[in-house]
Subunit: 202 residues, 2 copies
């Protein structure tokens, strides 16, 4: 198998479990390995691909299928696609896995109390107060993966550790090459991160 | 400029003007040149990306933006994206052109009487009878391009001639290399055409 073939990394988990931050670190790591990378993040997707879809099971499933459709188009042309999406229902995740084939499911596991603690936008609070309906983890279900390739525990790992676990697993699973030395992001990688909309200046 | 850099070929025109057929021939020609190719065809898009959108100007514009978003993701990763979409409004086509940058607009020009004659699905007839509302060319506007890179006249060109005109123009515009000999599709190209859903066995 060529190390340049595309694949999809699918991060699933509760709101505020850390999916987007880990997606950003993974993008940087994979760009440093010279890979083509795109990030399909829940919020961006809701604006560009799925405006008008709501949060019923039907609409959530449609959103997941739509993201899967785009991830498949990119993956089969050599791109590493990193999806960061709550995607709470197991069945449709399995459907997307089957359609893409080269698919690495990452369960971003985090106790809901910790997700709530991190929630800077106060979404959990609104959901608890009933001001936000159909919020995953509060009044809408989350079905955790039963056979994910990777499980992260973001309550007891740093985000760098979580990203490192994924990158190691990609090597083990045959999707990425061994790194010889820890990479330093070049200006080109920084620019690409900015284009992806995931660069966090710090 | 690298000849492997991606770009988008955007075929716009009335229903039944010949967009999908030409898209299929272009895909074959570009695959024969060793390019990565995807076809985003109106009908497929309505199923996979834009289910739920109707045919008001707002929904049509949203559909065009959405296809443009996906075309941009693919093009910036080296893929030649062939879009076959009525896309009747000039302003949003210009918006997509600006966002993608490497963009070749192809106006598939054909008199409406000829489009109607070809219409195997009888859509024009339904629109004329009032059974289909908001049908481009009948009771919905079509704004032809003012500055398209290429204009085809599919009432007086064969589909092979039309595709040939586009491929020649791509070379002239610097998007493709000169061909040394007329290509013959390999089994690999045929297989890829089948995956794209545009292969017409004949």
């Amino acid at each position: 198998m060529s190390f340049d073939a595309g694949f999809t990394i699918w991060l699933t988990g509760l709101p505020c479990s850390g999916k987007s931050t880990i997606a950003s670190l993974l993008a940087e790591g994979l760009l440093n390995q010279g890979r083509l990378v795109e990030v399909l993040d829940g919020d961006v997707i809701r604006t560009n691909l799925s405006h008008g879809l709501g949060f019923t099971r039907e609409d959530r499933d449609r959103n997941v299928r739509r993201v899967g459709f785009v991830a498949n188009l990119l993956s089969r042309n050599g791109v590493v696609v990193i999806v960061a999406l709550v995607s709470p229902y197991r069945a449709v995740r399995e459907e997307v896995r089957a359609s893409i084939g080269r698919f690495v499911e990452v369960y971003v596991d985090c106790p809901i109390s910790e997700c709530e603690r991190r929630d800077v936008k106060g979404m959990y609070g609104k959901a608890r107060a009933g001001a936000l309906q159909g919020f995953t983890g509060v009044d809408d279900p989350y079905e955790c993966p039963e056979h994910s390739e990777i499980t992260l525990h973001t309550d007891r790992e740093t985000v760098e550790e979580s990203a490192g676990i994924v990158l190691s697993a990609l090597r083990r699973l045959g999707y990425a090459q061994d790194e010889l030395s820890p990479p330093v992001s070049t200006p080109k990688v920084r620019q690409r991160m900015a284009e992806l909309g995931v660069w966090r200046p710090e």
